[in-house]
Point group: C2
Chain length 210, copies 2
DNA sequence: GTCTATACTCTGATAGAC
DNA sequence: GTCTATCAGAGTATAGAC
């Protein structure tokens, strides 16, 4: 209720409340989609987790599909960022260890995003195939050639560059995607991520030290 | 059609046809559940893949849940078998490399089983939690102590035994669970499993050689 | 913007003919 | 044993009151 007649036009851009509600919905949807996949998730669940009514969800997003696509789109940027930062001019071992550590940090801080991605892969990547073959492949090929160069210069030990990158993905994402298994096997009194950090540091040092 | 009147009683055990149909259903269900998870899978899909009608599915299995449970039960034995074979009396490095290779073979030959398991983990293991905390933890703790003993004897380099086992799981299962990503990034003209075999052999040799 | 009510489709499961 | 027909409930999405 504006006491002064401000001259701003009627808001065409999302208001603060709209943004907040959309974010609330996306957060709830992430919770549900990451656990049950696209088809296993229901709007009822998302509505309940978000605290909004089901029709209200569909006021902010045109469909269930649109919520899911929105999540995947924002996910990808965050997912590729750590690899983008791998610096060809840096020290090879430090660069790779830093990348591994950033990726492990993503698993620790954003496990739901990791599981959302895993679900999409298990389903055969129906909504991400183009991105995998496009942006992702381009980026990985680029960084793989950086690694190949480091190997050629004898600055790290010889390994298959692409599979080195796969190994970083798999070892770090495992702690998010298989969290229940890791914790069930370790039992209480363990800090999986702290132990993983030390273990993976050792692993990649021994693998890559010339 | 017995030409001689054999005296076998009317079959109370499953006939050959019954066994075959149950197997057909389970195979189709594995295809669908491994891709979409329990809730995302539908009996209609399983019916279509199996070539049987939906009511016929429910003639052989009491419910969707029962099909799923049957799959998970048979899965677990196959899943734990390779680790069980880790021999305390064998050569440490050979034993661990053999285990890794058997596990990679499972990913290559039974990728759907791997994805079924992954789906169950992503969902928080609602139907497997007891097994994880029971049989699985017991087995892993046992083999981890074998590894710890090898380390204490200086026969392999020091690593966290539990996380060494996790690393074998994650590195091998990645090639089944993220198959689409691996192939999209590598492009054609690659044999992911052959390359993985060589890469992982190198990785674990460098990690474990004292 | 948010709600109740509801349209319409899909899904798991059953009944009953053959 | 297998099919067609069908039910009850859940699912996505929309209409319309407020």
């Amino acid at each position: 209720m504006p006491l002064l007649n401000d001259r701003r036009p009627a808001a065409r851009q999302p208001t603060r409340i709209q943004k907040r509600n959309r974010q609330t919905i996306l957060d709830a949807a992430l919770e549900v989609f990451s656990q049950h996949g696209f088809r296993g998730a229901t709007l009822d669940q998302i509505a309940e987790v978000s605290g909004l009514s089901k029709p209200n969800l569909l006021y902010y997003f045109a469909s269930k599909e649109e919520i899911h696509v929105t999540l995947l789109d924002t996910l990808l940027d965050a997912w590729l960022a750590p690899l983008r930062r791998l610096d060809p001019a840096g020290d090879p071992l430090s660069e790779i260890l830093s990348y591994m550590r950033r990726k492990l940090g993503l698993s620790r801080d954003y496990p739901r995003e990791s599981r959302l991605f895993a679900n999409e892969m298990l389903q055969g990547a129906p909504r991400m195939m183009e991105t995998l073959r496009g942006n992702l492949k381009t980026l990985v090929d680029d960084k793989a050639s950086v690694i190949a160069q480091w190997i050629a210069e004898g600055r790290i030990a010889a390994v298959h560059p692409h599979h080195l990158i796969f190994s970083i993905w798999s070892l770090t994402q495992h702690y998010a995607d298989f969290d229940v298994q890791v914790r069930a096997v370790l039992g209480p009194d363990h800090d999986p991520y702290a132990e993983a950090d030390a273990f993976l540091d050792t692993l990649f040092r021994r693998l890559l030290t010339p």
